[in-house]
Symmetry: C2
Subunit: 727 residues, 2 copies
């Protein structure tokens, strides 16, 4: 029942039936040669009319990585995961599904392989939950593509996956600055106040988001002119301060006569339809809406053109939300509820039964699967397809609409493009954040694990809502999370309506000062972060990696709360309440420990491999620079691009030789793809009590403005030699 | 506004207004001399008409312990806690209130003191949440007693607290056996099946619980004779196998004519009344019920007599549940809901508004504060008091009714008495478990922290539902939790309706074998556990203690997931998914590490103080015996008392001298209080490559049957010398 085709030396495609073309894969598969294949290596296959099941027996020490945006341990053994995009705002550990669907896993054990199931509706991964030694993957279809990567090396499996699905998204350089959001800053005044406050308090900031309340009645592509009379002016004024404004965009189009998006969509039949071919109705923020049919390319083009109102204002980024698509309710569902209520009144004579009936009826109102089954997409070839069968693609296709349009609207400019829902392929054009987390210490650990899992899926530019979206945060939690956030490529403090405000100045003076130093540290790391990010994309290797992806050994697989941020820096965030330190495992090589508080204070200590309890007061972040690798810092600025980067600080523990390839480009365009980038190849050679430096500049387009480098090079005894060099 | 009285050298009472006599304190306060005291040491006081606020400025390194059954870190800094008993089945980290109210805290810092607020309604402790350096305690009253323990030593503060409120409850010795429960074993057959299965599989077991479905229509003190035709016979038959049956008891009395408990209660006016002096109506499991007025001593006596139907069957324990009291709904509340529904139908013409109205209305149905404010207790002096003002006492007073009755019904027998809700004082007569947790790894850590916090409150005999109550558990989670459970004095596997069964045989063969060894280990530890427990009560010192209660130092205060179980053994449970080991901090002395799998395998390693990563495969539990302290083991049996304990294994690392005082008594009665107990004083003196043993028996009543002792004594190099001794 499967047919098999070779994709590369290590990758085979196993196809069953006639899979829907999701767009995840960028290779042209029309010409591959298939041959029948009764089986798939490693797996036992069980099928019935409705399902395909893949079963694999794990060995005791096998580790499973991947699965992207899922809760639980980094090693995915011991839980059930469901891929069926959902807007669930309470990320308790038992939840099986979140916003995105990333059915790509890596088995790392005696046998090692990768598996990507390109199927856009429900898939269940039972990874050693029902039986501790078995993986059972259930795809609720017989039409699907399975890619098997047969390879021992995890990093090679990921390279193969990127070769298949495309390289990760590259945001503008300023997207690596700090960002502030809140649901909601309710007016222009509030947004301006926040911007001014950041500048007054000398806390760097690059972006402010306007959440749903900037819209006129939550109508997408409109602006509430009472509260934001001059949104355009606000965007321009903030731009003067180096602060970019990014609006949220929701897919649901309010049903309101005269509202241009509604009228256009209706006239052109751009909306999803119900079984009677009437425009499908579901409620989200604006009340009753229609859903644009993003699976149709005409609709995507039309939708994409709408973003012009923002790009015309000078806006450079878009935050696509609610695109699972989230459904608060449908009239059908509420009608059923009212029927239940009437039934309760008449039929059940016992109060408790009445109540249960109502409670039960009301529980299933939002995001009801029956509603997803009740509407249809019209594909480019005119065929209708039930939404449920392609559910997981909605966010991808909405974001594709934005991405394609922005290529025209912002020619040769890289936008900051975010989506909540996602599917493989979205990582080529945009990125995702981690959705509606809570102000729980436990969700810092979720953040740490997701950074690693999402990077494996190509979502390099990702992060969680710093401080937690839902619930109230303590000052300590916000500080510790701001520290972790320094190592979230997407670094945004965001919180929900009716929760405690958590901008840096909302607490005490000491907390404010720590947060300022913390954000400045992020800007000090900018040359390193940007170089490493660009290099990761080039090398098709995760920007953030688990220890076990870099070092062999058994214990590395146990350590899930330390990670490599680029190739030189290991981060060991303090993520527990009241802790004045934490355990850190230092694998394999020597490490230069920087328990960082601020750029200006760089006291370093050398550690041998081993287990340590590293003290870290509230203001301190335990960082470790890998032996013979280098960290590159610069003086913090108020926003990315405020000043040219003319001076670098190069810090490292060099016991033999270290080479760092510093990369820079204009940070804004795609000209780098045409060769408009520069490299500084910095080589340090250890020499008894000194070191020798060699710097080679390869910079035909003059992208690098560095004219001075400060070296702070440590030896194994912890002695530092400092040198400056003019270049 | 406060008046002050000296209670002991270190304890003062500060009284405001006319506090309700809760019964928490056992001292006779009628004769203490009060004098006016405008202030309370350490605290700033702010009052208004309705509140008393105590404010304290903490130093940076101050640690706060105590507060009993509350979520979050063991060090209570950084969270808000509310004491107002509630039945909340979703213990997410943000929850402020649980089932019990334990307003006793210990400040451990530059200044150290303890504070117990004897007030039975709402209290808020904001411990460094709103401002990280401030404690703000809000008591919503001006009638309260505050006890201040001025003392540097945490253990002395606890001793003083016990001197004030009484010594902890002592269960029968079999209560230290393993226990199995499920909501529900639905029939006699099922209970017998479980009992037989345990015996067939050679897994020790002492208790099976019958949850609510054994009752006839959830009518308290009845039995469903269709499903349990011979409950009595079942109790007797299981007793033959050494298995005790314990029924759940709920306070709500079903309103049903002819039902004897209802009729008696109604006739005698034993129920709480509403504002019209009609019996108050609230719904719980049976549907509409009345709540017995446990604050009245006649009611307590009447209620206590009801337990006779169980004691007559040979039942030796009672599980009081739902006594916050939990309210599913009241007719008043549902009436209001229906009004909202009607209103929604008529007034709101927008579907979404209708829906919001209904959703909002339905959210506040259970455990609504307005319902608690709508009923009254009649005190012994005839005065009526609003329930809300004494809300936190309901569980205490229900349990007092049971405890007092059982003294008569089971003369001179120690019952196993559990309550869900509690207040200080309950620890004298019963204990609590940790309520409706979930099958989350995170809840193992909650379990570990609560063991320590509850022990500080005198709830020595406590534990969590092993494997988690709500949600489905993986085999690995159940195994790791069974391992932690070995060190829960109350050791019970329990799970909710519609969740995955989690008895040891519900998984694979390997899991079953590990669980068998794990439970057997608990029985091997019995002589140690019982000795240490009895000794802890005698010494008024927590049976389970945080490291920081035993060792000084800064890092000890950071370690919350290791604890002292008795005075010889430190437990470092593996509580994270997939982990093959964990970090362990070994303070101050040398430690003998036993990474335990089963009684029969005792390979030990000596460790110096420091930080270690201790490997622990799925079957292994990292345990550490303190230098010059001894662990006492015996051969596991199928149930406590199956055999006499005639042989002991004494294991320890002795570098100079170790003394263990082994205690035993009949395990069933209170005769120990009349001196009917025995001691073996075992002294080991290190001698070059050997050791000398001296055993002194003090056992006038012949309570100790030990006739052989096996010594396994290690030296600092890890060499073991084994000796047997006949006594």
């Amino acid at each position: 029942m499967f047919k098999k085709a070779q994709i590369s030396a290590q990758t085979h495609l196993y196809r069953s039936g006639e899979p829907f073309k999701t767009g995840a894969v960028i290779l042209d598969l029309s010409k591959v040669n298939f041959q029948d294949s009764p089986r798939i290596p490693y797996f036992e296959i069980e099928t019935n009319d409705k399902e395909t099941n893949l079963i694999y027996k794990m060995q005791k020490d096998d580790v499973v990585y991947g699965l992207g945006e899922t809760l639980g341990a980094l090693n995915k053994r011991g839980k059930i995961y469901q891929f069926y995009a959902t807007d669930d705002p309470l990320h308790t550990p038992d939840k099986k599904a979140l916003y995105g669907s990333h059915p790509f896993m890596i088995l790392d054990g005696e046998k090692s392989f990768g598996l990507f199931i390109d199927y856009p509706s429900e898939i269940i991964f039972d990874i050693g939950f029902t039986h501790k030694d078995y993986i059972k993957i259930t795809i609720f279809s017989k039409d699907l593509d399975i890619y098997l990567f047969e390879c021992d090396e995890k990093l090679t499996i990921i390279k193969e996956y990127f070769a298949l699905t495309g390289k990760p998204y590259i945001p503008p350089k300023w997207a690596f600055g700090f960002q502030q959001s809140r649901w909601s800053y309710f007016s222009e005044e509030e947004v301006r106040y926040v911007a001014n406050k950041y500048r007054e308090l000398d806390i760097p900031l690059d972006v402010i988001y306007t959440d749903i309340d900037y819209m006129d009645g939550y109508k997408v592509f409109t602006i509430n002119r009472e509260t934001f009379p001059n949104y355009e002016g606000m965007v321009k004024d903030l731009a003067q301060k180096g602060i970019k404004v990014i609006p949220i965009i929701d897919p649901g189009v309010k049903i309101e006569e005269g509202y241009h998006v509604y009228e256009e969509g209706k006239m052109n039949k751009y909306f999803c339809v119900d079984k009677n071919r009437e425009d499908f109705v579901a409620a989200v923020w604006p009340g009753l809406t229609h859903f644009p049919d993003f699976l149709n390319s005409d609709v995507r083009k039309w939708w994409g053109r709408q973003y012009k109102i923002f790009t015309d204002m000078g806006i450079k980024g878009v935050w696509n939300d609610m695109n699972e698509p989230s459904i608060f309710y449908t009239p059908t569902r509420v009608q059923k509820l009212f029927e239940s209520l009437e039934k309760a009144k008449v039929e059940e004579n016992e109060l408790g039964q009445k109540l249960s009936l109502i409670q039960e009826a009301i529980k299933n109102i939002p995001n009801n699967r029956e509603d997803y089954k009740s509407f249809y997409h019209k594909l480019d070839d005119g065929t209708l397809i039930n939404h449920d069968l392609v559910h997981n693609l909605y966010g991808l296709k909405m974001t594709e609409a934005a991405s394609e349009a922005l290529k025209t609207l912002l020619p040769n400019e890289r936008p900051l493009l975010l989506s909540r829902s996602s599917y493989p392929g979205l990582h080529r054009m945009a990125s995702i954040w981690m959705g509606d987390n809570m102000s729980w210490w436990e969700h810092m650990l979720v953040n740490i694990r997701l950074l690693q899992s999402l990077n494996m899926m190509g979502f390099f530019y990702t992060g969680a809502d710093i401080g937690g979206f839902g619930g109230d945060a303590s000052p300590e939690l916000v500080i510790r999370w701001m520290q972790l956030g320094v190592f979230n490529p997407f670094y945004r403090n965001h919180a929900a309506l009716n929760t405690r405000p958590q901008e840096p100045w909302q607490f005490d003076e000491e907390s404010l000062n720590i947060m300022r130093d913390t954000v400045r540290l992020r800007y000090a790391l900018l040359p390193y972060t940007y170089s490493e990010y660009m290099n990761s994309v080039k090398e098709s290797e995760p920007f953030i990696k688990p220890l076990s992806f870099v070092f062999d050994g058994k214990k590395e697989k146990d350590i899930e709360d330390q990670f490599m941020y680029g190739n030189s820096l290991m981060v060991a965030p303090v993520h527990e309440q009241n802790k004045k330190g934490r355990y850190v495992y230092l694998p394999d090589v020597k490490w230069l420990n920087w328990t960082a508080t601020k750029f200006e204070e760089r006291n370093m200590t050398v550690y041998k491999p081993g287990d340590y309890y590293i003290e870290a007061e509230l203001s301190q972040i335990p960082l470790f620079i890998k032996e013979n690798n280098l960290l590159v810092l610069t003086e913090p600025m108020n926003y990315v691009g405020e000043k040219e980067i003319t001076e670098l600080w190069i810090v490292g523990l060099v016991t033999s030789q270290a080479v760092y390839t510093y990369y820079d480009d204009d940070g804004l365009t795609y000209n780098f793809a045409k060769g408009e980038f520069g490299h500084l190849k910095i080589e340090i050679l250890k020499e008894s009590n000194d070191f020798k430096v060699q710097v080679e500049k390869e910079d035909p387009k003059n992208m690098i403005k560095v004219n001075k480098i400060h070296f702070e090079i440590y030896d194994e005894s912890g002695n530092v030699v400092k040198k400056d060099m003019i270049i």
